[in-house]
Amino acid sequence: MEITSRIPQLVVYGLVSGSIITLGAIGLSLTYGILRFANFAHGDVMATGAFLAFAFLGFFQGLNLPSTPFHPLSFGLPLLLAFILSMIATGGVAIGIDRVIYKRLRTTGRITLLISSVGVAFILRNALQFIWGPDPRYYIKKIQIAIRIPGLGVRIKPDEIFIIAVASCLVIFLHFFLTNTRMGKAMRATSDNMDLAQVSGIDTENVIKWTWAIGSALAAAGGVLAGIENKFITPNLGWNMLLPIFAAVILGGIGSPYGAMLGGMIIGLSAEISTAFISTSYKPAVAFIIMVVMLLIKPRGLLGEK
């Protein structure tokens, strides 16, 4: 039937959008797990990453680096370097925000932290708009043609393959980091029980810094990939992603980065596949409905323990 034949293509779109949502959701889940608060500024951290990459892109394009695109992708070395630098810089920005704002509020309640994060969200978004203006800023000016994948009957742009591949690699790195490095295990331990981590001798303030750095670097990656997917970025990019990201985290289980990965993909896929049956204007509603249903039937989420 006509509807079901569109689904494979929608799955492709879902994988792309799911990859981006996942990168945002992981950071949100990590900081919730350790600091126990829902960071409403996380979407705007993604946007900050996207804009920092834009700034670095301009810088690298200004130097005389080889800037021919890596065929068949639509971008070359400048954007790639900007991507990496943006992840590092955004991690640094997050550590700065924690030191200046959230650290002083460590002993206050979750609601106070949540509201302060809304404030941070406003500050970030408006700073971006103040510096770069409200109009779209372009990463890439050319249109890319989707290639057909033989046998599956779907088309996908090379940039989209890049997005899915990068997100997958980052997820695998994170898993390796959490399970095989000393700091990764300390992060998991602190997330389980901060007091016990302290009496085991773990410097939990250091763990908190690492959590902000990693979570925000992943968010920045998500923001840059969103920019590559859409070709441009706007200051509202992050705030607009906040709903799907929260839905992904709640679906997967708040506090669990693996839950965030699962949740991100499910939200991305469901939102895209839903367009086969209902109008595309309802896409955000799909994420919202999934989140509400999860809160009603299993508030801990699919993989959550808290």
Partner: protein, 235 residues
Amino acid sequence: MATILKVENLRGGYGETEILHGVSCRVDEGEVVTIIGPNGAGKSTLMKAILGLLKPTQGKIIFKNQDITGKSPNQIVAEGICYVPQSDNVFPSLTVDENLEMGAFIRRDGFRKKMEEVYQIFPDLKEKKKVKVKKLSGGQRQMVAIGRALMLDPVLLLLDEPSAGLSPKLVQVIFNKIIKINQKGVSILMVEQNARKALMISHRGYVLVMGHNRFEGSGEAILNNEEIGKLYLGE
């Protein structure tokens, strides 16, 4: 015998509420010291204060002749005091191996060797090395909890109700392990509801009531004291 821990006139509590109203105690090298008393006496509060999880408002805590009052937990742990809380004393989503590894987090050397020692003290855990602790039984979890605290070769081990929630047989097992650990040279300060059994393996004990010292003596003396027996040992 040298005194390794000295608590002098400690006052402290949670927020506005003062729980400890000038409590004193000491642990000498190689001793097992037990603190008993009714609920609300401040026993756990005292432990948390020694560990730095709570800042005392008055009084001093001296360890190995150094004033550690007000230091943060991870600094105190680095000095040689390790702590097993009464509840939430393991990392549930980590494996047994990983829990022990976290116990040794600040060790730069020899943690594999220490892990082997811990598995020798608790051989039941050997086959559960890669199992997530949330899947273990209460008794096994308690062993992991104590094992984690041993990983740093503490001079002084603080145990908050090590027998809580365990079957009588397991209580005996745990107390036997405590004796074994003490024989290896670790001094132990314990809080226990299972007062009789705890005092039977202790060199000395303190009775704490409503945040005040009520009695101090050797384990035997407390066990043989009729008045204490009636009030606090549930005779």
